[in-house]
Symmetry: C2
Subunit: 350 residues, 2 copies
Amino acid sequence: MAGAVTVRDVARLASVSASTVSRALSASELVAPHTRDRILAAARQLGYSANTSARSLITGRTSNFGLVVPDLENPYFASVTKGVQSRALSEGFAVFVADSDEDVRTEIELARKLASQVDGLILCSPRMGNRDLAAVTESTTVVLVNRQLPQVHSITVDDTEIVRQALGHLYALGHRTVAYAGGPATSWSDGQRRNGIRSALSDLPGLKVAEIGSFRPVFGGGMSAADLAVATGATAVLAYNDLMALGILSRLQARGINVPADMSVVGIDDVSAATLVSPALTTVRAPLQKVGTAAVDALIDSIFPDRPPLPPETLPVELIVRASTSVPSRPPLTSREEAGLDERSSNAHQ
Amino acid sequence: MAGAVTVRDVARLASVSASTVSRALSASELVAPHTRDRILAAARQLGYSANTSARSLITGRTSNFGLVVPDLENPYFASVTKGVQSRALSEGFAVFVADSDEDVRTEIELARKLASQVDGLILCSPRMGNRDLAAVTESTTVVLVNRQLPQVHSITVDDTEIVRQALGHLYALGHRTVAYAGGPATSWSDGQRRNGIRSALSDLPGLKVAEIGSFRPVFGGGMSAADLAVATGATAVLAYNDLMALGILSRLQARGINVPADMSVVGIDDVSAATLVSPALTTVRAPLQKVGTAAVDALIDSIFPDRPPLPPETLPVELIVRASTSVPSRPPLTSREEAGLDERSSNAHQ
DNA sequence: TTGTAGGCGTTATCAT
DNA sequence: ATGATAACGCCTACAA
């Protein structure tokens, strides 16, 4: 049994009333220093700690946050979670963490369930529709990560810039046909990146980007994407994230396709595994933990409206060049450029 | 604002009393089917959901669990967390997750803070002393992961068997001097593994194990350990976990030491990154998510004493042979066997 | 089967 | 500066 000791016990021991005990523990300057000390001593002696249920019942606040992520085993979300964690704890909040397993139904259910017992909710890369998202927004304060919605505070990385840097790098090396292995179709970030591709194309004359489809944002998804990328005749492939890029690397090696000589590979995020493989993965680094801490800051600012609200935040990114990219030293492995793949003529406007 | 709608609102709409509403939502068979339907309809219409603070104030239960892990970015703990998550949610519990950042003080503080607002606490690889641990155990129901303490339910992997399989594998390949790169000195598992080494030695005549010290259980710790391992003259190294093994692999390659020709490397856990590197890492697989689900099951069983309590559980492990181990085809890189390193003569009893 | 009444532990309001 | 009292929303005897 945890807190069998209540304010009344402390009050009795300190020979004061329950209200005074309560004050001494919160607005401590409203109580005489002498009695305050006596109360604190009594509380410590009895091992008193306030019952959070009773407190939040009357205050209407829980000092808890909720965090919903698609997959804790994805190192991207693990890092964001860690960032959320550390900042929330240092600000006095505990964090419910929920893993939706990339499933929209689960995600909605978790968000709803948590909303009722937190002061605010961080939804990380939510896949649910705008309608469901709006419903959650009605029920509690929400901060979105990797997604934007009018009127809702959000933390995003600069997806346009990610694509610009990745494609710019490959273009500078001499690549002119690049495959894009996309993430989940319901991912807002993926949409942003596809937009980013279109806008980057106008700065990179002669570049062709073949969008080869949507894949699960994990290692296995990358393995599926690899063969399609090869079939487009591309000399390089940009993946939705590092995990997919690692899967692509693995599949290419299994097929005896040399990276980077035959095919360059670029990932996104710079998760720690990116440096473990050989060749090491060229990637665009996103500030993972910082995404989490920024989300907590935004949440706290939304909850306490006295401070001026922060503007939506878009965090900077950084290209990290490693060994998985080089000049396209050999001709494309295939020239099936007319194949029935989803090769949108992305350079139509040139 | 979330739950502005209370039982009384639902009661009014359904033309019944508040208590009937309460009953309809919990012990639904105590209320007439007809009124029950009316109440449920009213509740749904108003979007009612019970205030968890008020409920737990009176019931004394929160339907929340707490989980404390040393490092969420460590894929081992990420997987355990995911397992805890999924099982807890399917049993109707939400989970507070806290990351101690491998720090004992933080860990103690987190455990104490969470203990007051949960029905049970899962402490994963806790580093705190037995005394502090016992204190936490007093304040709430606890299940330990990767540690044992009398009277406290615990889930562990079979550390003795891990070591036996790893050393047995290396021994069979012909290795006779193996370095052990240990984990944190305060880690219970590390202690178990060192015990396991001693017991394994009696089955493996002629084997020598050099314990080269305690390292941080992450990539960087492995890099530090690598040079010490080489200096012992060992032809193989067993690491406390996969992350360290990957760091060792990386450092050996940087030094131009070939794995497995010059040095075999074995990890523990089989985290997903183990297959990404080349050579792929030989490791002893632990059932990561299952550790988490088993911990939740144990917690639930401890909380509801009506069911027969489960015995402490030790989960099985499995050797996974990959490319990072082979026969010791070349002589040791060094023969400084008398060097001042922490080379306990582990085979003293032979 | 349903309603009434009381209390869980805390904080807020009001009075002293 | 401190104390008495009420109220937060719910559950659970007990009464009807």
